[in-house]
């Protein structure tokens, strides 16, 4: 649910990074935080366990500049990936305006990616939101492992597993090295702002 503040000419949107455990959601946010200028970002807040696993969420607020006189502020959240933290994922998804689904390219994680995407669809549906209508971008992370000892899935298999029905924009990435991180963020921000503008116009029409 985007928040439009007319007294400050500001639009606030919520984007959630979703995906299975250890797929690189927090790493995405850490890379963004490390490479953004001080004046456009807030503090990065992480609630994690000692084992570097997200317990509740990570949070980062970014200012994306102006569109039609409105300052666009996006709030990036991650969710805990482990299966048993479903209640927490549902809490973080509250009021979400756009989702980045991070898929782990490792072959051993294939099943977990699919399970996590199904879990996302289920949790969104519980909030009355369809995975087919919400702004969504898929990121295939850990592509830097290509050519190493770790076996990773080819892009076409990942696309077939996760994006054959949804057909949303997808990016190959390495959150650790930064490849594809900002491309993903740019695309989801674009989709979210477009969606907010559409909803505002629709509401204006209905009120006339």
């Amino acid at each position: 649910m985007p928040f439009i503040n007319f007294s400050k000419d500001e639009i606030q949107c919520k984007i959630v990074y979703y995906g299975a455990g250890f797929c690189g959601k927090t790493t995405n946010l850490q890379y963004i935080y490390g490479r953004t200028m001080e004046d456009i970002k807030g503090k990065m807040v992480s609630i994690d366990t000692k084992g570097d696993r997200t317990l509740f969420f990570d949070f980062l607020s970014l200012s994306l500049g102006k569109i039609r006189g409105f300052d666009i502020r996006v709030q990036l959240y991650t969710v805990p990936g482990q299966v048993h933290y479903d209640a927490t994922r549902k809490l973080v998804l509250k009021g979400v305006d756009g989702v980045v689904f991070i898929a782990d390219s490792l072959k051993v994680q294939r099943k977990k990616n699919i399970e996590s995407l199904i879990n996302l669809a289920k949790n969104l549906a519980e909030k009355g939101v369809s995975i087919r209508s919400i702004p969504l971008v898929i990121q295939y992370n850990k592509r830097d492992l290509d050519g190493t000892d770790s076996e990773i899935l080819p892009m076409d298999i990942l696309e077939k597993d996760l994006n054959s029905m949804l057909k949303v924009p997808s990016f190959s990435a390495s959150a650790l090295k930064g490849t594809g991180v900002f491309e993903t963020l740019r695309e989801i921000s674009k989709l979210v702002v477009k969606d907010v503008s559409r909803k505002v116009m629709l509401m204006d029409k209905q009120q006339k």
Binding site: M1, F3, F6, V45, Q75, Y77, G128, K199, M203
Partner: protein
Amino acid sequence: MAHSVLLIDRSGQLIAHEGNTPELDIISLSALTAANFGATAEIARMLGEEEFTLLFHKGKCENVYFSAIGEHVIMVTLFDDKTSLGLIRLQINKIIDELSKILSSIFEKGRLKPSEPIRSS
């Protein structure tokens, strides 16, 4: 008295802020408050309660009082150790009904669905 008051929505978006706290990261505070409230609501449900409508955290110098206003909004009141909790509760109870009516009328007017924008002016 309270030195800062925030109105936030349940998804963690800041709606309004009044007070003098330049050093405070109110955007992050809003996100954490919503999460805190959500987590506590789950505890309430486990105990057979619908939700806990107020939360209070006490520190050495700073205290925070969270109150639910209707189903969409949380009010966060920050106050120091020179102010008594009773006084804060009394003042909040005086305004909470009025605020609740104003906010309900805004939400009803917009007939908001979960994904529709909230407008504030």
